[in-house]
């Protein structure tokens, strides 16, 4: 581990200034991902600016009926929050399906969005990886790809984003509130994470020194009927092979509106816009759900080790939508 300096920020502007003015600096939240990476040699910041004492630890109701989540809210607290549990059950379920109790007690909302891929090559500094060391190549392509992307990958990177929370938030059309040296800006979460393209080292659209201060969820009344389903080898403490977050608005047997997002399939939490479009106005039947899944998966390009993800996504999406529509039928 590289030697590094540590300072604790007392206000947000100071934190931003400290990191923005120092190319090797990084924000420290729960540290559940960054500290691992420092031990592995994947990250070697020479200055850590601790932001856990900043006043971003609240979940507040917005006048619009939405919710504003401070970036420092711990995953455990967010999952247990009454507003979240009652209005956005899929988000609470997603959080609780992630990591372990101990990790969720430390991990923050902002940090969860910024966690980096679990690609085994990214985590092993002895192997080439375009995300870790630009231009060195991608070891995963032709290698061990059971967990890798089927959607939106490039010839430079096939990694997937590991977050559960972010998948539910993308389905809920969240907005990320970011503080930079020039003030605040707001970014749609669906545009916050990037596809790998030619520059897979850029996970997000954040610039160096920009700090996530909050995530806002707009009002979505039909999200009270929503679910997050994570498919994994073992029953707990494992990353998703695939996951589905969905909310369904059914009236008289017809889908009025739907929100669907996928995890474990792409470099970013994947908003399934094709599936949503296919669902809107369709009868709430297994056949429609299957057609919606197929519409989304038309673009899927499996690798040697992950073709199973296509039927797994299809089956899981159909099952989640069917269960939600069954709830809708009295």
């Amino acid at each position: 581990m590289n030697p590094f300096a540590y300072e604790r920020a007392s206000n947000a502007a100071g934190a931003v200034a400290a990191v923005a003015g120092h190319p090797g600096a990084a924000f420290l939240g729960g540290g559940t991902n960054l500290v691992d990476h420092m031990r592995l040699g994947v990250a070697s910041p020479d200055l850590l600016v601790d932001i856990t004492k900043l006043p971003f630890d609240r979940v507040e109701e917005l006048p619009s009926g939405g919710v504003r989540i401070g970036a420092g809210v711990r995953n455990s607290d967010l999952a247990a929050d009454q507003l979240i549990r009652s209005r956005y059950p899929m988000l609470s379920q997603a959080l609780l399906s992630g990591a372990s109790g101990q990790l969720r007690n430390l991990a923050t909302t902002g940090g969860n969005l910024l966690q980096r891929t679990r690609c085994v090559y990214f985590q092993d500094v002895t192997t080439p990886c375009n995300k870790r060391e630009p231009g060195t190549g991608c070891s995963a392509i032709g290698g061990y790809t059971r967990y890798h992307a089927i959607l939106g990958a490039s010839e430079h990177c096939v990694a997937v984003h590991p977050s559960d929370m972010a998948v539910a938030m993308v389905a809920l059309d969240a907005t990320v509130v970011v503080l930079g040296r020039l003030g605040e800006r707001r970014v749609k979460l669906v545009e916050f994470h990037r596809l790998p393209g030619d520059d897979p080292w850029q996970d997000t659209v954040l610039g160096h020194g920009e700090l996530i201060v909050a995530v806002e969820l707009p009002a979505l009344p039909f999200a009270t009927r929503s679910a997050y389903r994570k498919v994994r080898d073992r029953a707990s403490f494992a990353f998703a092979l695939v996951s589905v977050a969905a909310a369904l608005d059914v009236e008289g047997g017809t889908v009025r509106d739907a929100r669907v997002a996928l995890g474990g399939v792409a470099h970013k939490p994947w908003r399934a816009t094709q599936a949503e479009a296919a669902l809107r106005g369709a009868p709430a039947t297994a056949e429609s759900f299957r057609r919606a899944a197929d519409a989304e998966l038309a673009a899927a390009r499996p690798l040697d080790g992950n073709a199973y993800k296509i039927p797994m996504v299809r089956n899981t999406m159909v099952a989640v939508l069917r269960d939600l529509s069954a709830e809708a039928t009295p």
Binding site: G41, Y121, T127, R234, N315
Partner: protein, 732 residues
């Protein structure tokens, strides 16, 4: 009787309160810290080291490379000793091989310096995946340490198979797996002149003593090995692996005690693994299910021969488990550029019986026969391979009691025939067997004026309950309350005992403890008879009893303190050795079991979840109902890992293990383990050893994976012949 009681583990409180001191936890003055540097290529030669940057880091005491490493006496080493890689040459055999040791005054400084060591290589050709090298399959040179050939045949299996009316001809594969004990490999080494003391996490203190003495060219009595607690071994602490030797080497180089603890990632490249196997199974039977022919050809992954030889003996159980007149087995090894494989809980049996008992399930399906009925139709009344009676075999009782507890009768035979909502339900079973191994062992017992018996043996407690059960055996033999018996282990200053491997600790050490206690009692009787104040002159031992610290004879009694005082002694002591005799020549010695699993498979996602396990075992006499049950549920849990989760993934290009951590290498978590019910069928096998016990550490692992695989078939109709069974195997 204290033996048999569910006595709490005597080390339990020490462990859960953090007071049990493990190998890395002995505080020593001037302790330095060693960190390993590892290769990043799979084959080739080291051209040079650039250590200038590393040497300039603060606190660095030494950087040991093959250029300057002290020479070890590897030529005198026996075949079983691990003698490489120990920085004695510059050849690279596998990715992750140790190439240098960095020693510094703190761990952090050693880590930082180690990260700055640069190595130049000339890369060679590597074979990283066994399946690419099957053409290089070789006959093992030291199978079972030369005790038997790697192949065997009885009758004419090929001819019998050719004409058999019902045939199964299939190939099973099992992956590389790593042991992943909670405690990593850890050693503290300290030299005082030519005397070496090591505190190390080992399953065999005597083996560590011999190995280190040989390699460093000192007398074995000058090497003391201390290992009072071991945080799990499962086979990876059976040999004395390079990290222990390198810690001692580093301590000699820097002239200070040195601690070397492996990282979790280094546990994947430093102390062996269960090798990948490819197993070809042929079963031929008549229409009634009677086996006519069996052939089991096993191939297991090996390293390059320079590192030694290890064979996963997959087909040994096939020789003896069923009464079949025509049986052939073979074992071959396939060299690749990976480290040396080693024993991992039930080596050979776990992987081999997975294949055999899956194939038996396939045969039952082909015959439309109940799987248990098929096994009973081929029940071996005597060992058909050695043509000897079993010392005892209660496998019929295991089938019957296990099936009753599991309610096997509710199983409907067809695949996908049982459901619970969105879940497909499957019920499967398999047989387990494991040899009842015993080796020579010694123990010493000392009884002092305080009435406490201190029993010592140089054995190990690798988390199994040795401390507890040996105290129980001694308490019964000496007719003392358990509170008056202390058992000490894990120090080469105690009488010698074998490695804790092959489930042999209890069958080997408990007879020695019993014999030492009997010898102590005899000595007390001699003293009492010779003591003029007892008036027992001319009496024989059979006239006397020893109970609660008192010798009771005709008309009077005398306490131990009195006896000792009369002769002006502080204590009385006896030592005894107990070793196998002729029993193995006349009998076949095995433990047995019947294992049952109920799985649920999600119709849509393919997720596989266990909902119930039952295991009924013939493990001889039970010393402690609680520690025995812990061994059984632990073994079944380990078997569930093998069935559904565990696989070491190797990158074919680089030969590098890519999931060398317990986030990416999946072992079961609590949520994966269903209620496990265990049955120990009544038995007491005094032929196998004088205590009547059978080892049970590995037995419950043996049938677990096949029971799960057979249940998965029953749930889904999909036969998975490649472990671990994964969602994608059963996804519709």
């Amino acid at each position: 009787m204290i033996v048999g009681q569910p006595v709490d583990r005597r080390d339990g409180r020490m462990k859960v309160t953090g007071r049990a001191r493990y190998a890395a936890e002995f505080p020593l003055q001037g302790l330095a810290h060693a960190v390993l540097v590892q290769s990043t290529i799979a084959a080739g030669t080291i051209l040079s080291f650039d250590t200038a940057d590393a040497k300039g880091q603060p606190g660095v005491l030494a950087i040991i490379t093959p250029d300057d490493a002290p020479r070890l006496q590897t030529k005198k080493a026996s075949q079983q000793m691990v003698t490489a890689p120990l920085l004695q040459d510059k050849d690279i055999i596998y990715n992750g091989q140790h190439v240098a040791v960095v020693v510094a005054d703190t761990l952090d400084r050693a880590l930082e310096a180690a990260a700055r060591v640069r190595v130049q290589y000339r890369q060679g050709e590597a074979v990283t995946i066994m399946d690419q090298a099957l053409g290089q399959a070789a006959v093992p040179k030291h199978f079972r340490n030369g005790a038997r050939p790697p192949d065997s045949q009885r009758g004419d299996p090929d001819a019998a198979f050719a004409t058999a009316p019902v045939k199964i001809d299939v190939t099973y594969t099992t992956p590389v797996e790593h042991h992943n004990p909670m405690e990593p490999h850890a050693t503290i080494a300290m030299w005082q002149g030519d005397r070496l003391t090591v505190w190390t996490a080992t399953q065999g203190i005597s083996g560590a003593q011999t190995t280190l003495a040989t390699l460093f060219g000192v007398e074995p009595q000058n090497v003391r090995v201390v290992s009072p607690y071991v945080g799990g071994g499962f086979g990876c602490k059976g040999n004395t692996w390079p990290p222990a030797t390198l810690a001692a080497m580093a301590a000699r180089v820097v002239g200070r005690p040195v601690k070397l603890v492996l990282t979790r990632a280094q546990m994947y490249t430093s102390n062996g693994y269960r090798p990948r196997t490819i197993q070809k199974l042929k079963l031929g039977a008549d229409q009634t299910g009677k086996l006519l022919a069996m052939r089991h050809d096993g191939f297991s992954q090996m390293s390059q021969p320079v590192l030694g030889e290890f064979v996963e003996p997959v087909a040994l159980a096939t020789e003896m488990l069923y009464a079949c007149p025509n049986v052939a087995v073979s074992h071959r090894i396939v060299p690749v550029n990976q480290g040396l494989p080693t024993y991992m809980r039930a080596p050979g049996e776990a992987s081999g019986v997975f294949a055999l008992e899956s194939a038996m399930d396939e045969l039952a399906i082909a015959l439309k026969m109940d799987p248990i009925a098929l096994r009973l139709a081929n029940y071996a009344e005597i060992d058909p391979h050695e043509n000897k009676p079993f010392s005892s075999k209660k496998l019929r009782e295991c089938y019957a009691q296990g099936a009753a507890k599991f309610e096997w009768s509710r199983r409907t035979p067809g695949p996908r025939s049982m459901r619970d909502g969105r879940w497909l339900v499957g019920l499967g079973m398999a047989t387990a067997t494991y040899p009842n191994n015993r080796r020579a062992a010694s123990a010493r017992v000392r009884l002092g004026t305080d009435g406490v018996a201190i029993v010592q043996s140089g054995t190990q407690d690798i988390g199994t309950g040795t401390y507890t059960v040996m105290a129980q055996v001694a308490a019964d033999e000496l007719h003392l309350p358990l509170s008056h018996v202390r058992f000490e282990l894990g120090d080469t200053r105690y009488p010698k005992a074998p490695v804790s491997g092959g489930s042999s600790t209890v069958p080997s050490v408990s007879p020695a403890v019993q014999a030492a206690c009997a010898a102590l009692r005899a000595r007390l009787f001699d003293m009492a008879i010779a003591d003029p104040r007892t008036g027992w002159s001319g009496a024989s031992h059979s006239d006397l009893r020893f109970e609660n610290g008192v010798v009771i004879g005709p008309d009077r009694r005398i306490t131990v303190p009195q006896l000792l005082a009369h002769q002006n002694l502080a204590f009385v002591e006896a030592e005894a050795e107990s070793k196998p005799g002729d029993e193995k020549n006349e009998h076949s010695l095995h433990a047995f079991g019947a294992q049952f699993a109920e799985v649920r498979v999600d119709l849509e996602t393919g997720e596989i979840r266990l909902t119930r396990c039952v295991g009924a075992f013939d493990a001889g006499r039970v010393l402690n109902a609680k520690t025995a049950r812990s061994q059984l549920i632990g073994g079944i849990t380990y078997g569930i890992g093998m069935a559904l989760f565990e696989k070491t993934e190797v990158d074919a290009e680089t030969g590098r293990i890519v999931n060398a951590n317990i986030a990416e290498y999946l072992v079961p978590v609590n949520a994966d383990i269903p209620p496990i019910e265990t049955i120990l069928v009544a038995n007491d096998d005094r032929i196998g050893n004088p205590v009547g016990v059978k080892g049970m550490g590995e037995l419950p692992m043996v049938g677990a994976a096949a029971a799960v695989a057979n249940a998965v078939w029953h749930a889904t109709g999909v036969r998975v012949r490649d472990l671990p069974i994964r969602i994608e195997d059963v996804l519709a």
